[in-house]
């Protein structure tokens, strides 16, 4: 009946034209996982004995575990013996030689997102760019690292940290997400190949936003990424993960683990933008993203804040949480999750209140378009000793079109009568009324959708670092626009 509805449907189902693919020149182990494979990984990375033992312990626990199926997600059986767990760093001889060889659609998206040319080349895997040549990334990274080192800040790849700061790694790895925590974290612990490591010493306020961008010359992180951020007493750090540029990966399964530790009076802000390939119209080829992210507010008055913008992946299984152990500690979770085509997301947070006067704040915005399904799943648990704990949860869903779904699964567990809990939830539909109102003022349907959705997500975007927020807004616009151009 109405063309408007069809327009929305069409926008939501537009082809994903932004993906790209670099061929791998693999010097890899055969597919499959066993103790030899793990020993091989550990020895190639020249790891200390204790870490190999730790990996093997994780592997043995993993063998006894079952893949969780409680999430509101439907996906085929994953054959864990059909996955290659180690391949040597690639030489990119066969990669594209210049930006001229890159899919113009992809470049168009980059331009829309305002990504500079050199970075475009890097992202698109143009030969030589990622390492040196045009963009002197080595020196950029080195300069930054030197500047950080002046303050005693350690920021490097996980592999480097294992070599250079083994005591720190040993003390904290697995201290927030124990190896037996869940199926995917156990798998990650057994086979992780790299990731980021960050340590902020006592009383230091990290002078810049830390992002993986600054260590682009570091080894490429694989599908099992491991990140550890430690903020010592009275320190502050803002950490940025991912980028708005569309990312494609030959590995379908991703299972990362991120652990944050905030000591007394320390603050960690962790922001993520994830835009991995969502799969085609029928959901084929998209990334399966099973992530375990958790922060521990270990000391009094500490604070951990998670902000995420999730627009990619076919399957997202992710619950960044906070263990509020120190008195007066604060945990925050701000999330935007967009699902379109046949994307499915089951995401939310876990706030575990242990200390006194602990507070948590949850703002979740789920947007479903096309045939996408978006589930919010959140646990707020108030322990016996957590006197005067407070939680505020706001959970809003927006539907675009009539073939998508939004679901909410809040779990609340209160074991202390002094707790104060608030939960608000809403579901709205981008209405034809709103669309017509915008169009009647001269705004195109594409811009109208983008504007309405960005307005809906505003409370989350304001938690992102300024530049990231601008990028994230553009990203939502471009994702929903679908047809680039």
């Amino acid at each position: 009946m109405s063309t408007e509805k069809e327009d929305l449907q069409r926008l939501a189902e537009e082809e994903y034209k932004h993906g790209f693919y670099t061929d791998v020149e693999a010097d890899s182990l055969p597919p499959g996982l066993n103790e030899d494979v793990i020993a091989h990984i550990s020895s190639v990375k020249n790891e200390p004995e204790w870490l190999l033992e730790w990996r093997l312990k994780a592997y043995r626990s993993w063998l006894k575990m079952k893949e969780p199926r409680w999430a509101f997600l439907r996906y085929p059986e994953i054959d864990y013996q059909d996955i290659i767990y180690y391949s040597a760093p690639k030489s990119q001889k066969d990669g594209p030689q210049s930006l001229d060889e890159i899919d113009p659609e992809l470049l168009d998206t980059y331009n829309k997102l305002g990504i500079p040319l050199v970075e475009q080349a890097m992202l698109a895997g143009v030969v030589g760019v990622a390492v040196d040549a045009v963009f002197d990334s080595v020196s950029v990274a080195t300069t930054f690292r030197e500047k950080l080192a002046e303050d005693g800040i350690i920021f490097c790849s996980m592999s480097e940290a294992v070599q250079d700061h083994p005591d720190l790694v040993r003390e904290y790895i697995g201290s927030v997400v124990p190896i037996t925590d869940n199926f995917f974290s156990a798998l990650n612990s057994a086979v992780f190949t790299d990731g980021s490591f960050c340590y902020i010493p006592k009383g230091v306020r990290c002078p810049m936003e830390l992002s993986t961008y600054f260590r682009i010359n570091a080894a490429k992180t694989g599908q099992f990424e491991r990140t550890l951020v430690i903020a010592d007493e009275g320190s502050y750090v803002s950490y940025l993960e991912g980028c708005t540029a569309p990312v494609r990966d030959e590995n379908q399964l991703h299972a990362a683990v991120v652990e944050l530790v905030a000591h007394k009076d320390a603050t960690i802000k962790y922001s993520t933008v994830q835009n991995w390939y969502p799969g085609d119209e029928n959901g084929v080829g998209g990334i399966f993203n099973f992530v375990t992210k958790r922060g521990k507010c270990l000391g009094d008055n500490s604070r951990i804040s998670w902000t995420q913008v999730e627009t990619g992946s076919a399957i997202t299984w992710k619950y960044p949480g906070c263990i509020l152990q120190g008195d007066n500690s604060i945990g925050e979770f701000y999330s935007v999750a967009l699902t379109r085509r046949r994307q499915q997301a089951d995401t939310g947070t876990k706030m575990i209140h242990i200390g006194k006067n602990t507070r948590s704040n949850i703002v979740s915005k789920g947007i479903s378009a096309g045939r996408g399904h978006n589930a919010y799943r959140g646990l707020v648990k108030i322990g016996k000793g957590a006197d005067n704990a407070r939680n505020y949860t706001q959970c809003d869903s927006m539907l675009i079109g009539d073939k998508c779904g939004a679901h909410t699964f809040p779990y609340i567990e209160v074991n202390n009568p002094t707790a104060n809990m608030e939960h608000e939830a809403s579901t709205t539909k981008i209405g034809e009324d709103q669309m017509f109102f915008c169009q009647q003022r001269g705004i195109s349907p594409e811009d109208a959708v983008s504007m309405i959705v960005n307005g809906f997500c505003k409370e989350v975007f304001k938690e992102l670092p300024m530049e990231f927020a601008v990028e994230a807004q553009k990203l939502l616009g471009v994702s929903l626009e679908g047809s680039v151009g």
Partner: protein
């Protein structure tokens, strides 16, 4: 500038407009009056291009173009403005941000450059002052938490900033107290010019004390049953719509 010929419109299978004829020239103000359910709002919505209506028969020509061929945003960019009877809320989108996007979309269509931030702010403040709008309404999200009266005033504010060629007011007076109505009417009157026309849809004639129309039409059961000048509105007030039906 606008010519409606024998317009028949259905909504949800129901025949609502049954052969409307109307001609509006540049600079004229036409008022459409009529009882509830006569099709007044439908006419306003169809002119603005709201989806969900089936044009069964008839033609609408606007500035020499077939209006019914244009998408709603194209009509807006060509200068058609509809002040909504029930203005829509857009949470999280600041009123001025929205308005600037709208203005720039229209300017782009006309081949003009985008308006600069300073220039836009000046324009917006000037128009808000004219309509005695609380300036806090400018930075708040579009219509969110606005009172009924504030929403209607905001519509006229949008119209004042966008400066349309044809302004269609769909029962803008409903829900307004007399003071607010005066301000709104003054705003509309100040926009009157030889290059701009208005169609004022209203149920009551009191608005027409302040926006004096050149023509008054009575719409009843999907047809214009009577046309006249301002005095027709006054007669209607005395005798009711039943009289017009017979006439």
């Amino acid at each position: 500038m606008l010519k409606i010929k024998n317009l028949h419109v259905k909504a949800d299978g129901k025949h609502i407009l049954k052969g409307v004829n109307l001609e509006v020239k540049f600079g004229e103000v036409h008022s459409i009056m009529g009882p509830n359910g006569s099709g007044k709002s439908t006419l306003a919505q169809v002119l603005a291009g709201r989806p969900g209506y089936e044009i069964v028969e008839g033609e609408v020509w606007y500035k020499g173009e077939d209006l019914l061929e244009l998408a709603p945003e194209e009509r807006a960019r060509e200068g058609i403005f509809l002040a909504f009877q029930y203005p829509v809320e857009i949470p999280g989108v600041a009123n001025t941000y929205f308005l600037r996007a709208a203005l720039n979309a229209q300017r782009k269509h006309r081949g003009e450059r985008e308006i600069e931030a300073g220039e836009f702010l000046k324009l917006v403040k000037e128009k808000a002052a004219m309509l005695k709008m609380d300036t806090s309404l400018l930075s708040r999200p579009v219509n969110e938490g606005f009172s009924g009266g504030e929403k209607k005033r905001n519509e006229i504010f949008h119209m004042a900033v966008l400066e349309p060629v044809l302004g269609i007011l769909d029962e803008t007076d409903s829900g307004l107290d007399i003071d607010a109505m005066k301000v709104v009417a003054e705003g509309v009157t100040s926009l009157r010019s030889p290059d701009r026309s208005f169609i004022v849809v209203t149920h009551y004639q009191r608005l027409l004390d302040y926006i004096v129309p050149d023509y008054v039409h009575v719409l009843s059961e999907g047809r214009i049953v009577k046309s006249g000048d301002k005095s027709l509105a006054l007669e209607l007030e005395k005798t009711g719509y039943a009289w017009a039906n017979k006439g």
